[in-house]
C-alpha cells in the first residue's frame, strides 16, 4: 500500500513538473520584419510576462499564457537577433530574427566636393542603404547613380553588396555645379560636386603698355584645355630677369586675365607661369 502511494505521489509530482515546464511554452514566427506587427503564441495558463530582448530595446508585456501576444509594428523597430522570454513558472525562451524593412534612407557620401574638369575616375560616391528605422538593408538593392552638369550627364546602375554600393566617375568637360544623385525606388539623395576649370592651357602674355620706368604685361584670357575660363583669384606668376637681378610678381586672375607691372629694363627676359604650366617668354630691351 505504501509503495502504491509512493508511486502515485511520484507520478503526480512528475505530471505537475511537466505541466509547469510547459506552462510558459513559446512559439515565435519564422519571419518578422521591422515595423510590422508580430504575434507570439504562448502555451500554458495563468498570467505571465513576455520579454523581448532586441538589439536596441527591451519590450515588456503582461500576457495571458495560452493566448497570442500581439506586438505592434512601431515597437519592433530594430532588425537583428531577438530573444523572446516568457516568465510564468519556469522561464521559457526562444531566439528569433527580425529583418530590415524596405530601403527608405540612403547614407550617400560623394568625394571630393570640388574637382577639376575632364579628369578620369576622380569622383567617387558610396551609399549605405537603410530602412526607415535606420536598419542596414543587406539584401542586394539596385541603386542608380547619376552625375550631371547643365542637363547633360551619365548614369550607372549598381547593386548593393553587404549593404553598400559605390561608383567612380570622371568629371565632365564643362565646369559648373554637378548634381551627383543616388536613387533607390522613390528615395533620392543629391550631393553637389563643384567642377572647376583645370590647369591653364596655352598661357600667353603680351606687353600691354610701357614707359621709361614701367612695363605692363598682361595675359590673354586664361582658359583650360577644354575651354573653361580659369577661375578668378588663381595666381599667375610673372618673372623678369635682367643684369640687375630678378623681379617676381604674383598676380591674381581678374575677369579672366592677369596683369603685372614690372620695372623697365634695357635688356630683360620675362616669363609667365601658373601652377605647373609655363607660358610664353618675352625679351624686352633696347628700342622695344
Amino acid at each position: 500500500m505504501r509503495r502504491l502511494v509512493a508511486i502515485a505521489i511520484t507520478i503526480a509530482a512528475c505530471w505537475f513538473a511537466a505541466s509547469r515546464a510547459n506552462g510558459a511554452e513559446i512559439r515565435v514566427p519564422e519571419k518578422a520584419v521591422a515595423g510590422q506587427d508580430l504575434s507570439i503564441a504562448t502555451g500554458g495558463s495563468g498570467e505571465g510576462t513576455l520579454l523581448l530582448v532586441g538589439p536596441g530595446e527591451v519590450i515588456k508585456h503582461k500576457i495571458t499564457l495560452g493566448q497570442n501576444a500581439e506586438i505592434k509594428g512601431e515597437e519592433l523597430k530594430h532588425a537583428g537577433r531577438w530573444i523572446a522570454i516568457v516568465r510564468g513558472g519556469s522561464p521559457q525562451s526562444q531566439v528569433f530574427w527580425v529583418e530590415p524593412g524596405k530601403p527608405a534612407n540612403l547614407s550617400f557620401l560623394a568625394r571630393p566636393s570640388r574637382v577639376p574638369v575632364n579628369r578620369p575616375s576622380v569622383i567617387s560616391g558610396f551609399v549605405f542603404t537603410f530602412d526607415k528605422f535606420q536598419n542596414l538593408v543587406v539584401d542586394p538593392t539596385p541603386i542608380t547613380f547619376t552625375l550631371s552638369v547643365g542637363g547633360t550627364g551619365a548614369s550607372q546602375n549598381v547593386t548593393t553588396k553587404n549593404g553598400v554600393a559605390w561608383v567612380r566617375s570622371s568629371s565632365a568637360k564643362k565646369a559648373g555645379s554637378a548634381q551627383f544623385v543616388a536613387k533607390v525606388g522613390d528615395v533620392t539623395v543629391t550631393r553637389v560636386v563643384q567642377q572647376v576649370a583645370s590647369d591653364p592651357c596655352n598661357l600667353r602674355m603680351h606687353i600691354a603698355s610701357r614707359n621709361k620706368d614701367r612695363v605692363t604685361v598682361q595675359t590673354d584670357p586664361i582658359r583650360d584645355c577644354t575651354g573653361n575660363p580659369v577661375p578668378d583669384g588663381t595666381i599667375v606668376t610673372f618673372i623678369e630677369t635682367d643684369q640687375t637681378g630678378r623681379s617676381v610678381v604674383d598676380a591674381r586672375i581678374k575677369k579672366g586675365i592677369a596683369t603685372a607691372e614690372l620695372p623697365a629694363s634695357s635688356n630683360a627676359h620675362i616669363t609667365v607661369a601658373s601652377g605647373v604650366v609655363l607660358g610664353n617668354e618675352l625679351n624686352v630691351g633696347g628700342g622695344e
Binding site: P55, V58, R111, N162, G163, V164, R168
Partner: protein
C-alpha cells in the same frame, strides 16, 4: 540498572546541542570561510570575464574599392576588438560609458536604448565571447569608412538579478560600419543578420 543508565545516555545526547562539539564548530568555520571565498571569487570572475579582450581575426584582402593600409588594418582590429569588449561590459553592467567610447551614430543610439531598457527592467546580458572571424568588405576611397562582415561565436545569457532567464550559444553574423573619429575608429552600424 535501567534507571541508573538513563541519565548517562541523556547527558551524552545533550553534548552536541549545547554547542561545545568541536567537529560542528569546525564545519561552521569552514562553511563561513567557503561562503566568504565564493562571495569574493564570483565578482572577481565576472570582472575577469568582462575584462578579457575577445579574439578577433581580421582579413582585409577582399576590401574594395581601396586597399586597406597596414596601419589602418591594425587600428581597425584594435578598435573593433575594443568595441566588442565595451559592448559586453555595457550590457553586463548596464553602463553607458563603454558605449560612448567605442560607438557612434545609429549603433550608439540603439545600444544606449538597450542598456536603458535593461536597467529599467532589472535585466543584464552576459556575453561570453568565443571569437570573431572578420572580413573587410568595403573601404571607402577617401578612407573615411570601412565595412566589416563578422562571424561571431557568442554565448549569450539574459539574467534577472542572479537568475538566468535565457542562455544560448550560437554563431551570429554581424555587419559593422566603422568611421574615423577623433583618435580611433568608432562603430557606426552594428547589425546581426540571419
Amino acid at each position: 540498572m535501567r534507571l541508573h543508565s538513563l541519565p548517562d545516555l541523556t547527558q551524552k545526547q545533550l553534548k552536541p546541542a549545547n554547542g561545545s562539539n568541536p567537529r560542528l564548530a569546525r564545519i561552521l568555520v569552514f562553511a563561513a570561510g567557503l561562503t566568504l571565498m565564493i562571495s569574493g571569487a564570483v565578482p572577481l570572475a565576472k570582472r575577469i570575464l568582462a575584462d578579457t579582450k575577445p579574439n578577433v581575426q581580421l582579413n582585409v584582402t577582399n576590401a574594395a574599392p581601396r586597399e586597406v593600409e597596414e596601419n589602418t588594418e591594425q587600428s581597425v582590429l584594435r578598435d573593433y576588438t575594443a568595441a566588442w569588449k565595451g559592448l559586453s561590459a555595457a550590457l553586463a553592467n548596464n553602463s553607458l560609458a563603454p558605449l560612448n567610447e567605442n560607438f557612434t551614430g545609429f549603433a550608439l543610439d540603439k545600444l544606449t536604448q538597450r542598456v536603458k531598457d535593461q536597467k529599467q527592467d532589472g535585466l543584464t546580458t552576459r556575453i561570453i565571447d568565443h571569437g570573431h572571424k572578420v572580413e573587410a568588405v568595403f573601404y571607402s576611397p577617401d578612407g573615411s569608412a570601412i565595412a566589416l562582415k563578422d562571424t561571431a561565436s557568442l554565448e549569450t545569457q539574459v539574467l534577472d538579478g542572479g537568475s538566468i532567464l535565457h542562455s544560448d550559444q550560437a554563431q551570429v553574423q554581424y555587419y559593422a560600419v566603422l568611421t574615423g573619429a577623433e583618435d580611433r575608429w568608432k562603430v557606426r552600424v552594428l547589425e546581426s543578420s540571419k
